[in-house]
Amino acid sequence: MHSAIIDTPIDVPKILERVRGNANGATVLFVGTVREVNDGRDVTGIEYTAYRSMAERELASIVEEAAALAHSNDIAVEHRLGELSVGECSVAVAAAHPHRGRAFDAARYVIEELKRRVPIWKREQYVDGTREWVPATSGHTELVDAGDER
């Protein structure tokens, strides 16, 4: 098992290598990258920030939960912080298992829970020079669970 919050580019082949094993017949990788358009606005980059110590703790917990769920310790996840350009990788999750169903389930669990629970925020930078937290906060709107699906 491996989980980390990092400030440098994510080494995707290395994440895959971390979950490799001759008992595993199936490996699933999820890679999240910065999109050029979000909600119809042209994006030039994203700044990721975190409540770092808690994010590390939550991410480690999620990987442990996924391992218990999928009966596999071959699970790895890294999330990057800082300024990222369009096309750069913000998150990578890899899960391996003898059978593919479990590998898919584990990878999916990690990314879903990460998006639900890990205290990381992003601020998009737009072509017009403005920046905004995602999701946008406005006035007295009751901000509930983000639940954005990317």
Binding site: Y51, S53, R116, K122, R123, E142
Partner: protein, 80 residues
């Protein structure tokens, strides 16, 4: 007693700072901290019931605080 409050992202922008110390009465809950923070700067732009972590663990508004606790007000998370 003294409580450390951490603010992030849009919440830090609204209040104008990422961290502050608050004096609260013994027996104070997370709810009391939220109310105090919402009275600062543009703190009233924060929701009345934001997600909160106490010492890096998600906690309810009824959670009773102790001296030295670290209370983080957590804007909607957007990792990934």
């Amino acid at each position: 007693m003294t409580i450390t409050v951490l603010l992030f992202a849009s919440y830090a922008d609204a209040v104008g700072r990422p961290e502050l110390e608050l004096d609260v009465e013994t027996g104070a809950t997370v709810r009391d901290v939220i109310d105090q923070v919402r009275a600062l700067g543009a703190g009233d732009r924060l929701p009345t019931a934001p997600m909160v972590a106490v010492n890096e663990q998600y906690a309810s508004r009824d959670h009773e605080l102790r001296e030295g606790d670290e209370v983080a007000l957590i804007p909607p998370v957007a990792g990934g």
